[in-house]
């Protein structure tokens, strides 16, 4: 089944929130997932895989201890948290590359690298364990698949765009990945109670008039 990009963005936002991330991070995850899908990558499955790791249960352990120097966490880094910081700290890339420690789902860093590329008006390269991607903020050169986890990622200014990934206006998520996102999203929906049905939204009047 194909989905609109707004649909993938909304399910990603709800799922990320349902997985325990704060709303501001859920918004980041949603935009990032949309961006990946619009560059013909299965952003939904990438996000689903990450959310299943439940890193949000102990968020402090999965963020960089310090953003001066290399970005290392107490445990494996969360690419949503690191990605947000990468986007926030884009200007630092002008001074030196940013290197992370062990990190989950590095593909999720790509949209945040694209934010940095647009902010700095240059191309950004991202390398990890032999995988390499380049983006100028709009275009993306990257392989179809990225590892589930890598020991380190290096993000730096520069790099030449190679084969460009196609731009897509629809996403075709793997059904299993979509189902996982839906399951997380359901955690944000309140159960249907009679009280809620009567008081929560309507007029309490007949519409058969």
């Amino acid at each position: 089944m194909d989905y609109s990009l707004n649909e993938i963005e909304l399910i990603a936002k709800r799922a990320t929130r349902g997985a325990g991330y704060v709303w501001g991070m859920a918004e980041e995850a949603a935009k990032a997932t949309r961006w990946l899908c619009s560059r013909d990558m299965d952003g939904g499955s990438e996000l689903a895989r990450l959310l299943q790791r439940e890193l949000s249960q102990n968020p402090d352990k999965h963020v960089p201890i310090n953003i001066e120097g290399d970005w290392k966490g107490a445990e494996v880094l969360c690419p949503l948290m690191v990605g947000a910081s990468l986007s926030d700290c884009a200007a630092r890339l002008k001074r030196a590359p940013i290197r992370t420690g062990r990190i989950a789902s590095p593909a999720i860093l790509l949209p945040f690298g694209a934010n940095a590329a647009r902010a700095l008006e240059c191309s950004i390269s991202l390398e990890c364990d032999g995988f390499k991607a380049v983006t100028d903020g709009i275009e993306l050169s990257a392989p179809d698949e990225f590892p589930v986890e890598v020991d380190a990622v290096s993000v730096r200014i520069g790099g030449m765009l190679g084969d460009l990934r196609a731009h897509r206006t629809r996403s075709h998520p793997d059904p299993d990945g979509w189902e996982i996102l839906e399951a997380f999203a359901r955690k944000t929906y309140a159960p249907a109670t009679e009280q809620s049905r009567l008081l929560g939204a309507g007029a309490g009047l007949s519409d058969n008039d």
Binding site: L5, N6, E7, G24, D88, T169, S196, G200, A201, L205
Partner: protein, 565 residues
Amino acid sequence: MNPAVKIERRPPSEVMRLKRLGCLHQCRLSFMRILTRRMARENWRFTRPLFDINDKGVGRAVYTAHTSERPYSLVAFAHDLPDEMRSDRVIAQAWDATFTLFDGIPAPGDIDRLEQNVPFQEAGRLHESELSMSRANRSVRLWNHVVDSLAQGRQPDIEQIDEVGYLMRTTAVYGSGKFGTADFETVSARDELQAPFQAEMLSVYLTRAFVRDLAEHAAGVRGGANATRLEPALARRLGIGNSTGLGMAPFLVHHPVLFNNWIMVREEAIARVRALESASDEECDMFHNMLKRGVLSVEQWRSDHPAQLEKLTCLKDDIRKIEKFATRENLQRDHPWNQLMTWAASTLTEEGQEWLASLILEPYGELVDGLASCMSDGNRDAFTINGAMSVRDARALIKESFGWALNIDWNAKENCARAWYVSEEKLEPRLGERFEEDIFTDASNDFEQPLAPARDGVAAYKALEQWDGKKTVAEFLLRHPEHRYSIRRAQIGAHTPYGEIHDNTISAALLPIDMLRAKLSFFGATHFDPRSDRWVRIRMYAGAPYPDELNTQNADLWVYPETAA
């Protein structure tokens, strides 16, 4: 005439209060009027390639609007709905009629596919070739009266027509990617769809034509040779209703850039007119003419809701004052519109002030209408946080939007009595009582949606106060991701002064209908008729020419009823 004096736009602290937003009226920049002006100016053609409805009123129809570039088609399905299933709520399962706006002309196979999906609405799936999905229910009493009358060869009673105002009311018009429809971004480069909600407005416009045809068809079935058609002048009085619940309220909070652009554009239009040194005789005539016609519209405005009745009383009182004050003599003074608006601010209620603000724009299409192109949200990068910003600057930005909220006791029950949430029942947006409903009192759940930007902004402000002002937002957010939402909004607010509501959206005193009305007024809705504090019925396109009548003479001012000659 060019503006000679710079008059500032009214400040957000004045405009963005919920009480005032809940008093907004349609104006030249309303989305329906933007569309009807364009359709007439560009000489769109309209055809009805299919009308296959059986004697029970069940079947399908296609209405096509041909622009010079491309066609758009409303694909309509008419159903036989049992009375007991007629509900306007999102949780309804069936409707009198269901629709989609198809991007082009549907082939028979497309219509077959749509028939397998559109009647099921949220339970169906649409493709990128569809731009909207909607449904409508009959106004049972007016439908029966009109069909009965026409079947007997009589015209329906004008008072009954005005009492209800529409034969069917839509109960949701979805677009922008929902349920598989095309994302707005995929079509927003087309001139005719660039302004907000143009596909949805076109769908409703064509729906109105279908509903008239369907009623005439039903009368023909019932009355046979005796039946007659609805007189065009009566048909024009009929708009399409819309019945709207809470879903529109979160929209305004979720889209601060878009909301800003709508409000700012209207404020800019008002400021431009206020800056005019003088008004010509022709412009005064136009104003007085629209004033007279506007009064008729207000006289036809029906509601049983106590709050709306009180507002209507105020509005009628305000209009009497306007009629006395806005004499030709007074409009011949220096900067007449500015004087009028200054007088209004100290004399009229918000209902009257906003009604007048919309009215003074009417003589100045050349000055105002071009602003319609600034009402969409084209700035995708507004979402990206500038992490290099200092903590001090971020604090200042929050204060700009939410300074009014800093001294509110956000722990006091009355200030956080409500919580917005999404129900698992068809994902209907709802508003709950935080301290009373089980779904909130169980601490293991957190169903609250982020729709209290003032409360959250103040929390972020207080956390920022604990930080060295020279540190960066990036450092702050690494330690406080819970404030990422508010920091983003604050930075968006730096460029969108009208993006935030300057009121508490979770207060015990909140009236969600104020938020609904603000949005609906920009659609161009009239005759707001609240059914509760969170539900409102409106009219769309009442008075508008039908597709076969539309021309540049009648494409714009239809919203003001014609006075007797």
